[in-house]
């Protein structure tokens, strides 16, 4: 870095922060349009929240490895207790019981569970004797650590978040070097069990969503409406979009949830394919940085944390984009850094903060490549 830029600024991970700012700024513009050309109520709070959570992420990045290791288990337990509390005293919104009212904000503990599980598993595998990796002792406790919160979240019921937790956990296990045949076995078992789970495990409304996903035109004004309208919004945007504030699908309320789950469609209508490439490219840069942080680390715990956090954000992005493009059923998962919503922003910024934390550790003890 040149001397012009102060060292504390220069050493920040700009290859991640720059695309992150692009996404936040772009998201704010789209939210501005989704509110019919107004900073209120979405865009301004989006930016303010980001500022607060970015500060939080910087604080988080100052944590030392030992502190993180030490807190992994207590954090997991606290969040797990909050999930239990949700079952006991949480309030119901939108058909499921997900939120805890903390007085100053509505907290969704299942969101916090995503990074907490990653942290917990990373700690578990970091402390597990290496020789025990291919044994059941590497699998059973980890499985229990994942499935306990998943069971609680499924009770809410919240399929999307459950899958996100499973995905994050599974990615850590995968990266931890568990035997490949377990994953293949699990994949086969999932293929067999999926139909059973579908018919006996899912709520009717969730089953309906899957059917609708398979054939959105079957009910264009009912459940297929979301997918159909979303595709119309993206498709009518064309190459360069209809122009800022010109999206008829979102402005005339044809697009459901234009500021949260379907913000990508709102964006694509006004900015077109070009805007879509910018968003996908920005995410790609962030993930590439996340993976490079993981690989650059010489420490097993740090590697697993970085990979798990990256995978957690990736899961949001992948499912959301597939949903709005009609490649996945409608599950209520917002698009990180663009959608309006505090809980998901909190989770994602915790992930970013954790990645920055690992990034900082790496700079202190860079991987030599020769030594371990």
């Amino acid at each position: 870095m040149t001397g012009i830029v102060p060292a504390p600024v220069a050493r920040q991970p700009w290859q991640m922060l720059f695309p992150l700012f692009v996404l936040i700024g772009f998201g704010a513009l789209v939210l501005f349009s989704a509110a019919a050309g107004s900073w209120d109520p979405y865009a301004s709070s989006h930016v303010i929240r980001f500022g607060v959570f970015l500060a939080m992420a910087f604080v988080l990045s100052r944590f030392s490895r030992e502190l993180a290791m030490f807190f992994a288990f207590p954090i997991y337990i606290v969040v797990l207790l909050m999930l239990v509390a949700v079952e006991a005293i949480g309030f119901v919104g939108g058909g499921s019981q997900r939120w805890l009212d903390l007085g100053f904000m509505q907290l969704q503990p299942s969101e916090l569970m995503k990074p907490a599980v990653v942290l917990m598993l990373a700690r578990f595998y970091a402390t597990l004797p290496i020789g025990m990796i291919p044994t059941w002792r590497a699998l059973i406790p980890a499985g229990a650590l994942i499935m306990t919160p998943v069971a609680l979240v499924l009770l809410q019921p919240d399929l999307g978040t459950s899958l996100a937790i499973v995905f994050g956990g599974a990615m850590v296990m995968f990266a931890a070097g568990l035997p490949m045949r377990w994953f293949l076995g699990a994949a086969v078992a999932a293929a067999v069990l999926a139909p059973l789970a579908f018919f006996f495990g899912l709520q009717p409304y969730q089953q309906q969503r899957v059917f609708t996903f398979l054939d959105p035109e079957s009910d264009p004004l009912g459940d297929g409406y979301h997918i159909t309208q979303s595709k119309i919004a993206i498709g009518s945007g064309g190459f360069s979009g209809k122009g800022f504030n010109e999206g008829s699908q979102s402005h005339l309320h044809y697009l459901p949830e234009p500021h949260t789950d379907f913000i990508f469609a709102t964006m694509a209508e006004e900015w077109g394919f070009v805007g879509g490439l910018v968003v996908i490219g920005a995410f790609a840069m962030i993930f590439r940085w996340g993976l490079s942080v993981a690989r650059a680390s010489s420490d097993r715990f740090a590697k697993l944390v970085a990979l798990g956090m990256t995978a957690t954000i990736f899961f949001y992005v992948a499912i959301n984009l597939m949903m709005v493009m009609g490649l996945a059923p409608v599950v209520g998962i917002p698009l990180p850094f663009m959608s309006h919503g505090g809980s998901s922003m909190l989770t994602n910024m915790i992930c970013i903060g954790s990645l920055m934390m690992v990034h900082r550790w790496n700079r202190k003890a860079p991987r030599t490549g020769l030594l371990r």
């Binding site: 004797p129 290496i130 020789g131 025990m132 990796i133 291919p134 990615m171 995968f174 990266a175 931890a176 070097g177 309208q229 595709k231 119309i232 919004a233 993206i234 498709g235 009518s236 945007g237 064309g238 190459f239 008829s248 699908q249 005339l252 309320h253 044809y254 694509a268 209508e269 077109g272 394919f273 879509g276 490439l277 996908i280 995410f283 790609a284 993930f287 590439r288 993976l291 993981a294 690989r295 097993r300 590697k303 990979l307 995978a311 990736f314 992948a318 984009l321 597939m322 493009m325 009609g326 490649l327 371990r372």
Partner: protein, 693 residues
Amino acid sequence: MRLRKRARPREVVTQSTLENAFDRRTFVIGTAMGGLGVLLAARMGYIAIAENEKYELESESNRVNLSLIPPRRGWILDRNGAPLASNRADFRVDIIPERTPDTDATIDALTSILDLDENQAADIRKRVEDGPGYQPVEIASGISYDDFAAVSVRLPDLPGVIPQRGYSRFYPTGPTVGHLLGYVGTANAEEYDEQDRNPLLVTPGYKIGKDALEKQFEQELRGVPGARRVEVTASGRIVRELETREDVQGDPVRLTIDGPLQDYAARRIGLESGSVVVMDCDTGDLLCMASMPSFDPNSFSQGIGRVEYAMLRDDERVPLRNKVLKGLYPPGSTIKPMHCMAFLDAGVKPEESIICGGGRRVGNRFFNCWSNHGRVDMAKAIYQSCDSYFYHFAQQVGFEKVAQWAHKMGLGEEFDLPVASQFYGTVPEPDWKMRKFGREWQNYDTVNSSIGQGYYLASPLQLAVMSARLATGNRVLPRLRRGSDSIRFESFGFSPDEIGYVRQAMSDTVNGPGTAGRARLPIEDVLMAGKTGTAQVVSLSKSDGKTGPWKFRDHGLFVFFAPFDNPKYAGAVVIEHGGGSGAAYPIARDVMTFMFDPAKGMEALRALEQQWGGTAKERLNAKYRNYAAAEGQVIPPAPARDEDIFDQVEAEARLAARQTENLAEQASPSRVDNRTAAEVSRGSDAANRDDLQ
């Protein structure tokens, strides 16, 4: 570095193998992420670029709502250009059930906003249930601006509800033109399919002609719809108008009808059930075709309520049947002048006379005349309506010959008129009887038919045409659309003397020693000629025809033309169960008085209407109020399909026609009884039935 001993070396895991595995696996994960990213970008490119056109179209069809503006319907004008049917600007509210998730709640909400009563709400629910969902159902029309605004501001909570400013059909004279013009209504599913699913037909507020002239002239009256492109939100709220094309009003249709005369005649029928037809002898223009009692086409056009429909259906005077075209009656004595023309044509001289003697013996039966007229020639046979004369000469000439003339004069014929249907009735003939009943024509058939009884059935329109042809000696053709005044009709070839003779005899019926002295016009220099008729409905043994149950009373008929020596107007009046011709000719007199001197005619009508309790419209409204109050809520709903409304009545009409045929078939010929000739002559002297025949 710790190693764990395992039985199989392959299971040995070391720090470096784990590191390798991590690197490999993160590479796999990274590749998968990248792959998915490429897939998503490709998918987006496919939707946004390859399928762009399709989705752009769908987005436009979301955003832009093309709504048709129903064209203003063409006016129906009378011969002088006054509107018989026009349009009135109004505010209306429709609902499209298909676009309404919870119709019951929506209708409830509208009921309270618009302050509709229970009956109306029930009617709307019924129509919503019966109709196909895509078709708009009228909630209310003719509502005030305040109500219209009240519905408009609540639109976001009322999906599928369409308030709009439009036009509704208006018939200024209401019931008096009901049968003549028909009415308009929303197209039903069949009509929608028939007209190639023309979107105009399901446009809220658009109505098509449903009956009579409104239906016949539908294409001319329709006009060209306008169109409005508006930007709408998903909930249907209009954001802004993009562009508007004005509608083109339908062409007016000008009729031959004389509006005031039509109204006058219909009102003059009063409490009776019957019809009045007046036509122009020179042009064949139908000046009036009144049929009463009738319905109010204004209320039909707004979608008739169940209570009002029940009232009309239950009325034994069948207000749903157009009696001018679809009422069939034994013409009785009204055909006698026409039969005289047939006799003249067959070579009978007017001076040839018979002795009446109170009747005629035919075979082994005695057929009465209604009186003993002594010596009767053709003129006296007409003005005194002597039956014996016709018994005699019909047998002499042969009924085939007479029937031929009946057809030439318009009986048993259909006319080329723009009407939905007309009944052509019956002219009895030997061939016809053989075809119909498989039995030989008998002498007593000739006798019965010679005085317009037996199988004879004619509609009032046919009687009016007969009267016009009789008066002019020309084959006058009726018409309903105004056209050129210089028309020449084919002549029947009677000499002026022969025509003059019959005219004089018919004038004597009214102005001389005839049967209709009270029909004389109260105007100095205009003499009306006419012929009375009484048609029995049941045999003499059941009822005397003048009193008793309404259904058993005789029909009263009268055919006329005026002025008698140079006929300009001809017509017919038929009063169902009027108890004889005495019910018919005063109406003809007043109608013709109105024709020549409106002030004098109105004076007569005002006095009568005061007695009856108001004009036809006022009485219909009062009747509806009473009926609704008496029936309360327990009223079967109106049929959803408008065809049914008329199918039912037409069925009744046919039944009534059959009934007369059956009576005729039972050979209860009008004047047969078991009394001896001596008793008859005594009886007929005693009978003072001056006006009757």
